[in-house]
Structure formats: structure tokens, C-alpha cells
Amino acid sequence: MRVLVVATTVCLLAGIVPASAQSVNLDFTGTVIPGCTLSASDGGTLGLDYSTGTTLGSEEAGGDAAHVTILSIGANTLTVGAPTRTGQAAGYVATGEAIQVRYTGATGLSSINVAYTSSQTTNPITTIAASVLTVHNRITNPNGFPNGNYSTRTVVTCAP
């Protein structure tokens, strides 16, 4: 009897009882809002094709592409407008000119690769991480380009 009492006492004092593990779920919740943003754009540079003198473009010597970073969340449409000439040298003859745009995407836009066109183009896009679109412009004119400054503009938009 004494042995039983002492053994029970020792076990209880030592806390030797069948305690169970306790768990809790910690939940974190957040909502991602749909939308599309354009950022970190930089303009390009036009260079002259001195071999013919009839092409002024961002892929000629001395030229450089423009870039824009696009972040899309959900279904959106990326629209690249037809380029326009916004500046030219005195004496420039615009008759017969063609103003064109070409663009390619990287990362989430890697499926986009549009050849030179004078028209507005659209591209459906879905959720992508921030991705860069590279845009080229060029003017071709059989009349050539008098010396001076020229500029073109392409409007890029992204909307649901």
C-alpha cells in the first residue's frame, strides 16, 4: 500500500500525465486588385541611314530604342498606337513618307513581337510581373531628310 501511494505521488509531482499537443492555425489574407500600370519609360533616339539617306530610325547607327515597363494584374489590353512625327527640320518634304513602329516584349511579355507597321496594334495580356516593352520607330522617305532635328511619338496604353 505504501509503495503504491509513494509511486502515485512521485508521478503526479513529476507531472507525468498524458498532456496533448496544442495547435493553432495562423491565417493571413490579402486581396490583389486588378489593374495595369506603365512606368519607367525612356525615350528613344533616331539615327540616319547614311548609306541611302532615306531612313531615319532607332535601329540605324546612332539610334536607340524606347522602353516602357508594364505591370498587368488580370485581363488587360496593351495598345501601341500608330507613330506620328512631332518635329522635323525646315524644308522637310513629307510626301511619300512612312512612319512605322516595331516592338517586342520581355519576361511576361515575351510572346509579343510585332514587326514594323504604320497602324495601331493591340495585344491581350493577363497577369504578369513587371516586364519591359522595347519600342522602335522609323521614318522612311524617298525624298531624304534635310539636316535638322526630327522627332516621332508612339502612344502606349494599357487598360482593362
Binding site: 500500500m1 505504501r2 501511494v5 509513494v6 502515485t8 505521488t9 503526479l12 509531482l13 507531472g15 500525465v17 498524458p18 498532456a19 496533448s20 499537443a21 496544442q22 495547435s23 493553432v24 492555425n25 495562423l26 491565417d27 493571413f28 489574407t29 490579402g30 486581396t31 490583389v32 486588385i33 486588378p34 505591370l71 498587368s72 494584374i73 488580370g74 511576361g108 493577363t126 497577369t127 504578369i128 510581373a129 513587371a130
Partner: protein
């Protein structure tokens, strides 16, 4: 024989009062859930992105009982249709403040399960701050996301 029995009964009664009850080995309560936000690049969704909104949990340890606390990596319990989880990774980080002889614990973001022992402590309440984040180079489709981390207290 009778004095011995009275002494034994007294000791048993005292021990029963001092001994931890099975259901109270470690008590866990949840004061607050966490909140997730997406990064500007939409490649990270986390409770430390554009703010600081952790979940917090309190564990009450019984007198003189060391326990082991395990924190599991988060699961994605809820995600919207159209979400591409192919390249995602889910991580958890946490911290526990020092209390008495317990030195505290800081765990950087990890994708694995981690655990630590409290050692023998007096009856104390440990407060744990927990963060979750999900990384995905494909971005996060619009909608509601919920991650879940299980915290377990083992006697």
C-alpha cells in the same frame, strides 16, 4: 499504519493540486490574424510588403514545464481562379520575445518546418509574432489569397 496513510493521502492531494492537468499542458490563443499585400512588381505577397501586419499568438506555459514549439511552413489555403502557382515559394518568419531565462527566438524567412524548446520555465506567457510571404515571378492574379501557418506546442 494509520499515520502513514494520512500522510500519503495528504501528499497525494497536494500533488494533485500542483500537477499540470492534461488539457492545460500548453494553452494557445490567437489575438490577431495577419494581412497580405502585393509588392509594386506584383511578385511578392506578404505581411511585410508595403507595411507590417503580422499574425500574433500567445502561448501560456504551465509551471515548470518545458515545451517544444513547432512552426510549419505556410500553405496556400485560398487563391483566385487564374492564379499560376507553378513557380511560387511560400515562407514563414517569426520572433518570440525573451521572457525570464528564455532568451527569445528569431527565425528568418524559411520554407521549412522549424522548432525550438523553451526549456524549463516558470508559468509564463510567450508572445510570438509571425509573418508569411509568397514569392511568384509569374505575378498574382486579382482576387483574394489566404496563407496558413500551423503553430504547435508539444509538451
Amino acid at each position: 499504519m494509520r499515520p502513514v496513510s494520512r500522510l500519503g493521502a495528504s501528499v497525494v492531494a497536494l500533488a494533485a493540486m500542483l500537477a499540470p492537468l492534461p488539457g492545460l499542458a500548453c494553452s494557445i490563443s490567437l489575438p490577431a490574424s495577419g494581412t497580405l499585400r502585393n509588392s509594386m512588381s506584383n511578385t511578392v505577397l506578404g505581411s511585410q510588403v508595403n507595411g507590417n501586419t503580422p499574425a500574433t499568438v500567445t502561448m501560456v506555459l504551465p509551471l515548470l514545464s518545458g515545451v517544444t514549439i513547432t512552426v510549419d511552413p505556410p500553405t496556400l489555403a485560398v487563391s483566385p481562379g487564374g492564379y499560376n502557382a507553378t513557380l511560387e515559394t511560400r515562407e514563414v518568419a517569426y520572433s518570440v520575445a525573451n521572457v525570464g531565462i528564455f532568451p527569445g527566438r528569431n527565425q528568418a524567412y524559411t520554407t521549412g518546418s522549424t522548432s525550438f524548446s523553451t526549456g524549463l520555465l516558470g508559468a509564463v506567457a510567450l508572445s510570438m509574432t509571425v509573418h508569411n510571404r509568397v514569392n511568384n515571378p509569374n505575378g498574382f492574379a486579382p482576387g483574394t489569397y489566404t496563407t496558413r501557418t500551423i503553430v504547435t506546442c508539444h509538451p
